[in-house]
């Protein structure tokens, strides 16, 4: 059962995360469209932050106070005091009376052979959600695993590549290091024995992998290639791409995250092209060189998913147009653009995490522990002490309370249902299920109103124990709308006189 709770909570979280990430990525799409005059580096920043924001969302839902972000997770109610005791989400098997469980009693005590009904199973929607959860987990693990496997493969390829010792290349590298602001030796060159696009690989100690035919490039081409790769190194694109890849693996159920990932890669390459052009490269020559490299690619000689490759055929057309566009903004984002983008993402992520429960009218943490009892209180004459109440009058108060609870179920009004309950209420139900306090009762009632549309309560006995304590025994029946299925059983409630009102203080019920 606890596994089911976990899965349900996980499913609720999954749905919540999908919705929140969709909203965030849509906002990034709008921002990117609005920034059509901005440089590729700015648009890359927008998409990178949006993907990073997706990772921030689940963290925010954990960091923000309880109740603000948990409304989609109400699969089951976990009692506040005891982590291992739960109120089942549904009691659909409750009308399966006549269990064949081995049970018996001793005086005052009972022996229940089976605490849990063997036929109990979650509803179809829960099963589907559970399946979806496992599909999601499996997909994330698969993609995440593939990503890690790719890293290993690229590292292996990089370690097999020979360090470049050609003085011509080393001289150009030194020149680029100086102009790009890299530390001496920061541009580490290695050559593979295959034809591929020049690329940066490695997260902590990135290297530039040059293809087999790199020596055929002229001096200008060598300079442009190294300027492009130096731009990747300076921007930390390898690490950004790895993190974005992991987040994409986590959110793989959301197609928008793949779109964002792709846009991030496209804008990243264009941003690096812009830096080459800003360094003085001739756009036409650079475009021609890029096109030549793309034509000579042998296909996926190396896995192109994690390395930062300079030339890709699929995006070449738009990229060449961007290179040849002389009016294009090619500036890197300044401190103001960075600050604005980061703050906007943060505000948006926090706002989304907080808007979710508001849109679902979820109660705030403080309101979970309180209830308005104006209707119920109105039935209590003021200035009367507990001992002044006759049993008949107490019975009338109980009838009033039960009527309020019945109406509350009919109206799906949990606040109304809570009116007669004590703040120190403890509810015990079959199988060790337990709810404590108004918060626990609210959660239990939320589950009830989700599953049932009507309730009938019939009081069978009321007896006074002391002046301030009364017990009530009765029958109840919950109805699922027009369906014949229902949940019925007996209950024993203990009522206690609290601040001028009779309140339900203990409730034990059977199916």
């Amino acid at each position: 059962m606890n596994q089911f709770i976990l899965e349900s909570a996980l499913s609720g979280k999954l749905l919540e995360m999908l919705l929140l990430s969709t909203a965030l990525l849509l906002a990034a799409s709008v921002a990117s469209l609005c920034a059509y005059r901005a440089s590729a580096a700015v648009r890359h920043l927008i998409w990178s932050l949006a993907i990073a924001g997706c990772l921030l969302l689940p963290i925010l839902t954990l960091v923000l106070p309880d109740g603000m972000t948990s409304s989609l997770q109400s699969g089951l109610v976990i009692s506040p005091g005891t982590g291992d005791q739960v109120v089942p989400r549904t009691s659909q098997a409750a009308d399966d009376s006549g269990s064949n469980s081995a049970s018996g009693t001793t005086p005052g005590l009972a022996v229940e052979g089976t605490q849990q009904r063997s036929g109990e199973r979650p509803p179809l929607s829960s099963v589907l959600v559970e399946i979806m959860t496992w599909v999601w987990v499996a997909g994330s693990l698969l993609l995440g695993g593939k990503l890690l496997h790719t890293i290993r493969r690229i590292n292996r390829d990089a370690s097999r590549a020979r360090p470049v010792e050609d003085p011509v290349w080393l001289k150009t590298a030194q020149q680029v290091e100086e102009t790009a602001g890299l530390s001496p030796g920061g541009l580490r060159l290695r050559r593979t024995d295959r034809k591929h696009s020049p690329m940066v690989t490695g997260l902590l100690k990135p290297v530039v992998l040059l293809p087999l035919d790199a020596d055929q490039w002229n001096e200008e081409q060598r300079l442009q290639v190294l300027q492009h790769e130096a731009a990747h190194l300076r921007r930390g694109d390898g690490l950004t791409q790895f993190l974005a890849g992991m987040i994409t693996a986590l959110y793989w159920l959301n197609p928008l995250v793949f779109l964002a990932y792709r846009q991030m890669l496209i804008q990243r390459e264009r941003a690096c092209d812009d830096q080459v052009l800003c360094a003085g490269a001739d756009p036409t020559c650079y475009a021609h060189h890029l096109l030549g490299m793309a034509k000579n690619l042998e296909g996926p000689a190396l896995d192109l998913k994690l390395e930062v490759a300079m030339a890709r055929r699929s995006e070449m057309s738009g990229r060449l147009m961007a290179i040849l566009d002389t009016h294009r903004n090619r500036r890197s984002p300044g401190p103001m653009a960075w600050t604005t983008s980061v703050l906007t993402t943060l505000v948006l992520a926090v706002g989304l995490a907080m808007i979710t429960p508001v849109s679902q009218a979820a109660p705030t943490p403080s309101s979970l522990d309180h209830r308005s009892d104006t209707v119920y209180s109105a039935g209590h004459p003021t200035g009367k002490d507990a001992e002044d109440w006759s049993l008949t009058e107490i019975r009338e108060a109980i009838d009033l309370a039960n009527g309020i609870i019945e109406q509350g179920v009919a109206d799906s009004d949990v606040d109304a249902m809570l009116q007669p309950y004590s703040s120190s209420m403890v509810l015990l139900a079959m199988g060790g299920a337990r709810a404590e306090g108004l918060r626990g009762m609210r959660e239990a009632f939320n589950v009830m109103v989700e599953n049932y549309r009507a309730l009938e309560i019939e009081t069978l006995e009321v007896e006074r124990i002391t002046d301030e304590v009364v017990y009530e025994i009765g029958r109840y029946r919950y109805y699922r709308g027009k369906e014949p299925r229902s949940l019925s059983g007996r209950y024993l409630s203990i009522w206690h006189w609290e601040s001028g009102h009779w309140r339900v203080f203990r409730d034990i019920s059977n199916f």
């Binding site: 269990s99 018996g104 005086p107 009972a110 052979g113 015990l428 124990i465 304590v469």
Partner: protein
Amino acid sequence: MRKLLTIGWILLLSMVMVSGPGSANAEDSGVLSRAHGRMADALKQGDADALASCYTQDASLSFPLRPDIQGRAEIKRQMSYVIGLGIRSFHIIEDDIFVGADVAIQGGTCIFYNETGQEINRSRFYTVWHRVDGRWLIYRDFVV
């Protein structure tokens, strides 16, 4: 010594008053101890009649997923079944006790053991007791 006893009594009284309606106190718990003792003896001896006599004539037992058991005759049959399961002793962990002049309610967990002291089962319960002719008998028993 007398002062100490007075202070102790005041402290005890304060604790009882402060301890709200739900908490069990030693005085109330003791009220039912003799009745529990009778039940324990009857169970140990495997005496269904004696066990059933710990209930009022109109007592009823309520269990999950089963019809209520009502009256001493049905209760006796149930007790025979319990004895047949090998249950010979029990221990009660009390959570709540409310004691009036002739009515009491006790709530808690009951743990059942077989002859070798092995735990067979544990259940949460609330029990309504009636005092009949000076003896506390079970009137209603709710188990979950």
